[in-house]
Symmetry: C2
Subunit: 153 residues, 2 copies
């Protein structure tokens, strides 16, 4: 059974239709999505807190995101460099236009996913829980499909 270390030349036939290459692409995108999850969760939280409290403070974000204020601080530095937020020392955090736009997209995606799961019969709590993760991996095509099915009936 043990295949040798080096593969023989695969006589003649085409070098396989490389399912691995497609798999790799999919996994790469999945990892790329993962990298922007943080930004999405932050701007969404900032938008929510701004709406409900009037402004978003570091402590509020930390509580809401379930991390320490240190983590929030460092991430905000990155988000500012990325152009999503404006911060000043000891002041509240505000979204840029770009950040607000991202937040709106995220909120819409989040709500669509959650609503879709509920419509399938998934419990309120589980729908909200799963949506928090799934929202970052739903392509525009899939999101459109969800919305179409939500509109029906």
């Amino acid at each position: 059974m043990a295949r040798s270390l080096r593969k023989p030349k695969a006589a003649g036939r085409p070098p396989e239709v490389r399912p691995s290459a497609q798999q790799a692409e999919n996994l790469r995108r999945s990892r790329r999505d993962r990298a922007v999850e943080t930004a999405q969760d932050y701007v969404e939280a900032i938008a929510d807190l701004s709406a409900s409290l009037g402004e978003a403070r570091v402590v509020d974000l930390a509580r809401r995101l379930g991390v320490t204020h240190v983590t929030v601080n460092r991430t905000l530095t990155r988000l500012q460099q990325a152009g999503y937020v404006n911060t000043q020392p000891y002041r509240a955090i505000f979204l840029t236009d770009s950040g607000r736009k991202l937040a709106d997209e995220c909120k819409r995606r989040h709500q669509t996913v959650a609503a879709f799961l509920r419509k399938l019969g998934v419990s309120e709590k589980t729908a909200e829980l799963d949506a928090e993760g799934i929202e970052h991996h739903v392509s525009p095509e899939t999101l459109a499909t969800f919305e179409k099915l939500l509109a029906r009936r």
Copy 2:
């Protein structure tokens, strides 16, 4: 508008039903899921490669996962410590019983999610792409719902 740094005492009323705490819990779980995504993708890939090639080699995994062999090596060290794989220098990688069990679960989840998306009308390619990310965030309840709906009709 600018809320003061320190909040006033919130006279009398209960200290709000803490939606933040629930949000934080959801986000924490989402991050926890993220942390095990790697393990899941690896054991799934190892199982696939073992089935199609007879064994899983580091280069095959690197190609399939879309990373370098260095990354594969280090991750395999962690997976071995976690008890999912057995490795020996310069030899193929094998799943432990625990690893095989995890791989089976992942494969089932992956297939269910992909099949469900296809059934909704999502294109083959997009279904596969989205499933690669979504699979890690689908709770047992949601998975069961998907399966039930797949069985119908």
